[in-house]
């Protein structure tokens, strides 16, 4: 099965093609290149929640920054609705792209300036993107607030310190929704939100997908919520997507040894299922990035000779992509 898209009826919204981002670390003779993101290709379809999951330092935030246009990729292209976003030269075109693709950040307490009232952020966005028809027209803002379960009267004239983390995160989602975007890029949106309110944010994404036709790129390290909320998932490891496919397939029946280890490492909220086996962790993070072959080779239980020198290519098996020599593929000489 050598087919990239396993949902042909779904329409593609944004596509990343062979993204690469190089960071230079050190200086002088110690100068070296670090491939923070290497050969990353994926797409988010209309009406779908796509998750990029991985541990910290795997490059998932860098990918989101490239998609949002905050960072120029060293190589590779991003297409939005089949349009290459590097070609957006005119300000109007850029603004149109920003209107369609909105973002939500990790820490709601840092998103808002504590000295500014939160509704001023909502008004600014509405004004900037021309969502306000005439002075005092707050219809767009009210609609956005309603879709996150808040009302204008709860928000108007109040400072960020008067809200809880979950509420602030909902307001920041409402801000993103004002422009009626078709894609939300959410970088770790629940990691700073209390456990009891976490599900309200995640459920909100589901509702936005089902009732408002908004796609979400959900970036997280939490596989349990990723399983709960998303349709498809890509697992990242040290700059590569090493497994990608249907969330049910990838998480319930993982193929890549790293995905298998990651899944086993999630603590289950069930005291009857305590861990028994032991794990080993790396001491040096950059060491794995610098590896020539498969980046996981140092910890993999199934290591083979060719893993050490050759990065596995994208292999399509059982309706998913997996980068592992265990599942075939010819090494390039």
């Amino acid at each position: 099965m050598n087919k990239k898209d396993n949902n042909p009826e779904k329409e593609e919204l944004i596509r990343a093609k062979n993204l690469q981002e190089v960071f230079v670390i050190g200086g002088g003779f110690a100068r070296s290149r670090l491939l923070a993101v290497d050969d990353v290709s994926f797409q988010v379809n209309k009406n779908e929640i796509f998750t990029l999951a991985g541990e910290s330092g795997c490059g998932k935030t860098t990918v989101s920054k490239i998609l949002l246009g905050f960072l120029e990729p060293t190589q590779g292209e991003v297409y939005y609705k089949n349009k290459f976003i590097g070609d957006l030269r005119k300000w109007e075109e850029k603004k149109e792209f920003m209107k369609e693709v909105q973002s939500i950040f990790q820490n709601p307490f840092e998103t808002f300036n504590p000295l500014r009232k939160v509704d001023s952020y909502l008004c600014d966005t509405a004004k900037y993107f021309g969502m306000m028809k005439g002075k005092g027209d707050k219809k767009a803002i009210e609609e956005a607030l309603q879709s996150v379960g808040l009302g204008m009267e709860e928000v108007e004239g109040r400072y960020p310190s008067e809200f809880s983390g979950g509420q602030l995160q909902r307001i920041s989602i409402a801000r993103a929704l004002i422009t009626k975007p078709s894609l939300l890029v959410a970088d770790e949106p629940v990691s700073m939100v209390d456990a009891s309110l976490r599900m309200s944010i995640v459920n909100l994404f589901k509702e936005l997908r089902d009732n408002h036709g908004v796609s979400v790129l959900y970036i997280t390290h939490d596989l349990a919520t990723a399983y709960y909320v998303s349709d498809r998932i890509g697992i990242m490891f040290r700059g590569n997507i090493i497994e990608m496919g249907d969330v049910e397939e990838v998480l319930m029946n993982p193929k890549h040894p790293y995905t298998q280890m990651l899944k086993q490492s999630i603590p289950e909220a069930d005291p009857k299922k305590k861990w028994i086996e032991r794990v080993s962790i790396t001491e040096l993070e950059t060491e794995e990035y610098m590896r020539k072959g498969c980046k996981f080779a140092g910890r993999c239980a199934f290591i083979m000779e060719k893993c050490k020198d050759h990065m596995p290519e994208e292999i399509f098996v059982d309706g998913r992509m997996v980068r592992c020599w265990l599942y075939g593929g010819e090494k390039k000489e």
Partner: protein, 331 residues
Amino acid sequence: MDILKTENLKSYYILEMGTEKKEVKAVNDVTIGIHEDEIYGIAGESGCGKSTFLKTICKLVEPPLRMVGGSIYYAVDGKYVDVAEVKEEEFRKLRWKYISYIPQGSMNALNPIIRVKESFKDFFTAHQKINDEKKDFEEPLKQHLSALGLPMRVLKSYPHQLSGGMRQRTTIALATILKPRIIVADEPTTALDVVAQRAVIQLLKDIQKLQKNTIILVTHDMAVHANITDRIGIMYAGMFVEEAKTEEIFENPLHPYTRFLIASLPKMGDKSYKPSVPGTPPSLSNLPPGCPFHPRCPYVMDICRKERPPLVETNTDHKSACFLSSKEGLQ
């Protein structure tokens, strides 16, 4: 015999802004006992007073935080010692040798400009006399690290060369080298990746098995609690609202707040709808009258708005602070 117990413990942040005085009741009338040789977990959301409770029991109370009432007892050599009566110089001897505190974000506590071994030495010399460096310091250090399964290479590294998980494990090794009877760990796995988190939990479990001491573990992650703790106390708005064995808490939660907390946990292989707790947590400086959970509780009764339910034993070894499960509420 409990190794540590508190009686009606109250500690507030007292903030004076001009003429206005504000009290943040971070620990509000807590009476609990922690057994010897167990891992006791404290769960609750951010801002519920978990960290303040830990600081208070470790006698790390500094203004604006003040201990305004109640008492804390440690069982030192089979006798209860009232912590408030121990002078600071005396207490310094207990610290790290009897009770050891691993604060939040401790993985950043290592001095960045000296090698890890020097940090260990600093720490060791402050608490123990070293006559012969090899025999009194290096040998026990190597023994300790190999018992915990940490590589010796760590000692020669600078902190920035180690990964987050390895740094966290190193600071835990540092905090336990004097074999304290009580280890207090505040969110030791937060900000770590899942694999590193698992390694840290593994390490804490090993230490407990090896040294037979008590670990008080605070985290908001219920999955971590399920994996490591023997008993759990649930904190809400500065109070303990439920306490029971870990299995019991997960299988038969009594307090409505705990029930919501357990029901909202996402699980792999289960896509059914998970609700979140309605409403928002109360402000600790302006608590609602009666039960602090009543504005969010779907089972609220008249009595809940007026009186605060006490933490009482409702089933065997299962305490809860709710009128639904206590006798007063049923009448």
